[in-house]
């Protein structure tokens, strides 16, 4: 019998995995809670990185690798990053061939813009809705395979768990048809989770409502290792909202946008009338080299400091100005049209003529399911190795934001679309190798195994339908989000994290007294939410526990009580005392946070990075001033 493959998730990573499998002639079932064209990848705005070097800047994949590793403060295995950065130019060309309407130069070539954490024009873009355009291109290719009969879509289906055999290998999945509430088990020789990030654990974030992290959390509960959970990226520039925080892309600054507050704290004037010399461009002042394009963790910290510690929020609000009004309106429309419209539509003010008011918001999870890799002695990724993107569960793969592998302690802007596609490109062939070389020895998936999975979940949902307690699950979910926002974003303190873990555990107790609100069997969104909420609470606990245990500051994880002092010299390598403190910190903490589920709470260990034995780049101080 021909092998069977399952991909869960229809964003960029999932669809790229599907394409690689289908291109090899394999039959793939893709599961998604929304029609795949509506996946969260559509929200990515600014662009996709690749060192194509069209601007005479001497850019090179090696420099892209270095920028990525530095931005992530070296908290990741290095060969996959090198593989990704070297593949980036050809990935951009591939997307170009698929018809992505990338912005062009006057010569008809691809245009590239600046982004944070680099000094090069490295970001290809399609207006300011690049993620949407990339997703549509992959969606179209998958539709082509679907019409050829190689791909079957299960849309409006939610992943519940993987099916585990006696040896602990993944042999398929159990999923819920959200329209009919039917539960089914599906066999597979290899499964890839491409289910995105957990932004909704934070309540309001820049994420879509579907980004609950529930699939990743459930895989962790079922035995997959979760890595670097505490590393959550807070994007510096978003519009605060009641239902979500809407992203204002880094590309606004890449195209010349400037962050400022009035120099005079009590200046009540219309921002348009405040002269340049009475504006405080705090990022440009402190970081003369990278200016407004410092990495995101740095920019978010500075904005939060200016607003909360110095009380300098504009117009008495938690906000600073993001100003693009000096850029001609026609240029803004051509290069940033999508986000100009979003600001106009949701705030009711034209950002082409009035500075935008923005504040940091939870955006992306660098952490995720642990995945393996295989590289040769030159640190080149081994093509088709079954270990690429493999979790610790045999037969279970992970790709995209759900994996931990490409961003370390802080993701570089415009690297997420790239990492999703690259991970999908190597996950597909890895799954095929696994299915050919490992899975056939196992034979067909026994019916009893599938039946057990189906029965377990049918029983669990029967219990959920009977939940008639006093707690509204959506209220618990909101409180979880508010708690997480308050204690586990830009600045963290151990006391808060300790208390927070206790509060999450109380919420888990309250969950048991939930009311399902709806016992229907058609699109019962409450029942599915009750199940998701438990998984989100587990993930919240995991994020807090890992954050509590890591007593240092690195990338997005910032604890003032454990931060290195500012170096005495502009270049930190010239300050021997500081370098010694930095070395000691790395010795203790330059390790992956590896979490395994247990009923008593996460079991966390800190494990050394294997690629540091033969690094592509030795860790160096991360400094952008």
């Amino acid at each position: 019998m021909a092998e069977r493959y399952i991909v869960v998730g229809g964003g960029l990573a999932g669809l790229m995995t599907v394409i690689k499998l289908a291109e090899a002639g394999k039959h793939v079932d893709v599961f998604s809670i929304v029609p795949v064209k509506r996946s969260h990848s559509v929200c990515a705005q600014g662009g996709i990185n690749g060192a194509v070097n069209t601007k005479g800047e001497g850019d090179h994949p090696d420099i892209h690798t270095r920028d990525t590793l530095r931005s992530g403060d070296f908290l990741l295995e290095q060969p996959p990053v090198k593989g990704m950065c070297y593949a980036a130019p050809q990935i951009i060309y591939l997307l170009d061939r698929m018809g992505v309407p990338f912005n062009r130069t006057s010569e008809g070539l691809l245009d590239f813009r600046r982004f944070g954490g680099t000094l090069h024009h490295r970001t290809a873009f399609s207006g300011a809705s690049t993620g949407q355009q990339l997703l549509y291109a992959l969606d179209e290719q998958v539709r082509r395979y679907e019409s050829e009969g190689l791909v079957r879509k299960f849309e409006y289906w939610e992943y519940l768990s993987f099916v585990k055999d006696a040896e602990g290998a993944c042999r398929g999945i159990v999923a819920l048809d959200l329209r009919t509430m039917q539960i089914e088990a599906f066999p597979a020789d290899a499964v890839c989770l491409a289910t995105g990030g957990p932004g909704i654990v934070y309540g309001r974030s820049t994420n879509s409502t579907i980004n609950t992290g529930t699939a990743a959390s459930r895989a962790y509960i079922d035995g997959a290792i979760y890595t670097n959970a505490e590393f959550i990226q807070v994007h510096p520039t978003a519009i605060p909202g009641e239902d979500k925080h809407r992203l204002m892309s880094e590309s606004a600054r890449g195209e010349g946008g400037r962050i400022w507050v009035p120099k005079n704290k009590d200046d009540k004037r219309d921002p348009r009338t405040i002269p340049e010399n009475e504006r405080w461009f705090f990022l440009e002042e402190k970081y003369p080299k990278y200016r407004n394009l410092v990495p995101r963790d740095v920019a978010s910290r500075e904005i939060v400091y200016v607003v909360r510690n110095l009380g300098r929020g504009v117009e008495g609000q938690e906000a600073v100005y993001l100003d693009v009004t000096h850029i001609p309106a026609a240029t803004l429309d051509r290069k940033l049209g999508g986000i100009m419209e979003i600001y106009e539509k949701f705030v009711g003010v034209d950002p082409r003529h009035t500075p935008m008011k923005i504040f940091p918001a939870v955006h992306y999870s660098m952490g995720g399911l642990w995945v393996d890799y295989e590289a040769d002695a030159r640190n080149d990724m081994v093509p088709g190795s079954p270990r690429q993107q493999a979790t610790n569960i045999p037969g279970l793969y992970a790709a995209g934001e759900v994996d931990y592998g490409y961003h370390g302690a802080n993701r570089l802007g415009a690297n997420s679309l790239l990492s999703c596609i690259y991970a999908g490109m190597i996950a597909g062939p890895a799954m095929i190798s696994y299915a050919k070389n490992v899975a056939p020895k196992k034979g067909d998936v026994p019916k009893t195994l599938l039946g057990q999975g189906k029965t377990y979940w049918s029983d669990r949902f029967d219990k959920i339908y009977k939940m008639d307690g006093t707690e509204n699950p959506f209220v618990i979910g909101r409180e979880m989000g508010e708690l997480m926002q308050k204690i586990s974003t830009v600045v963290k303190f151990n006391k808060d994290l300790d208390e927070g873990v206790g509060k999450i555990r109380e919420m888990k107790e309250r969950w048991k007294r939930s009311n399902v609100l709806d016992t229907g069997r058609t699109l019962n969104q409450s029942a599915s939410y009750v199940n998701q909420l438990w998984n989100m609470l587990e993930l919240a606990e995991l994020i807090l526990v890992c954050g509590r245990l890591r007593d240092e500051s690195r990338g997005s994880h910032y604890k003032p009580d454990f931060a290195l002092p500012e170096p005495k010299t502009k270049d930190p390598t010239q300050d021997p005392q500081w370098m010694e403190a930095w070395r000691v910190r790395n010795e203790k903490w330059l390790k992956l946070t590896m979490a395994r589920f247990s009923a008593d709470g996460p079991k966390v260990t800190f494990e050394p990075l294997k690629s540091l034995a033969n690094p592509i780049l030795k860790p160096e101080p991360r400094w952008y001033a």
Partner: protein, 258 residues
């Protein structure tokens, strides 16, 4: 600002279930939109006459008008619920599901036929594989700008909902898929296979079924010039019909485009 938001929702427990109206009152809050009100109702699913009910079902994902999920009819106008700001809506606010698509429940409908239409018109660039084959064709910035706008179609269904030619018993494919043909046929590689897509528009329910009501372009939340797309594709299919007739022998002999 009133201290309460009043919302009336047309509800059905399933496609064949009877319809009923339920009214909700939720406290006003800053930056309220239809989604934040629906979320508030989830947290307290009680109607304004104090009756406990189930939380209404609706589709949502991105909440920034790029995914198309939360499309519904708000105060009689089809649009995305996320960008429907409460302070710009007359109250009581009425929510109904789109009527041109099979209902799933409450405000959620099945727009699967729009994705099927994209298959029918072969809405993709047939690339020769994902291998490293170098850059794509060069394009003038002006062409890219036209294609970008066409490519922002999020398959939300507004254009079908307002089209008098689209109904339960009609075959019309609708503006979205027609405009997608224009997008792919404008692309330098897509052009090579323009004939196949045009033929998809020449079958029953194709571009000739357009009644020129022009409601679609007005309803499109992305400002896609749908009426020009339809006009252009109508011309192109006419040319294609002549071309197919003149080349009928070559096509029969297998020499022409398949």
């Amino acid at each position: 600002m009133a201290d309460q938001i009043v919302m009336r929702i047309e509800r059905r427990d399933g496609p064949d279930a009877p319809a009923r109206w339920e009214e909700f009152k939720v406290p006003s809050h800053p930056n309220a939109n239809v989604i934040s009100v629906l979320m508030e109702i989830q947290r307290n699913p009680v109607t304004s006459d104090g009756k406990r009910t189930t939380p209404p079902a609706w589709d949502a994902a991105c909440l920034e008008e790029v995914c198309g999920s939360c499309t519904m009819v708000i105060n009689g106008r089809v649009r995305q619920a996320c960008s429907a700001l409460i302070n710009r809506l007359e109250q009581p606010i009425t929510l109904t599901p789109m009527k041109k698509f099979p209902l799933i429940r409450d405000l959620a409908v099945d727009r699967g036929k729009m994705f099927e239409a994209l298959k029918r018109v072969r809405g993709w660039i047939p690339i020769d594989g994902t291998y490293d084959l170098g850059p794509g064709p060069r394009q003038a910035p002006e062409d890219q700008e036209i294609n970008y706008v066409l490519s922002t179609c999020m398959t939300c269904g507004c254009c079908l909902e307002v089209c008098p030619q689209v109904g339960k018993d009609t075959a019309f494919i609708g503006a979205a898929a027609i405009s997608q043909v224009r997008l792919f046929n404008n692309h330098p590689t897509g052009k090579m296979h323009a004939d196949e897509r045009l033929r998809g528009l020449m079958e029953t329910g194709g571009v000739n079924d357009c009644g020129k009501a022009a409601n679609c372009a007005e309803a499109c939340p992305k400002g896609i010039p749908l009426t020009s797309s339809i006009a252009e594709m109508a011309r192109a299919t006419t040319r294609q019909a002549f071309k197919d007739w003149f080349l009928r022998d070559e096509r029969a002999a297998g020499a022409g485009p398949a």
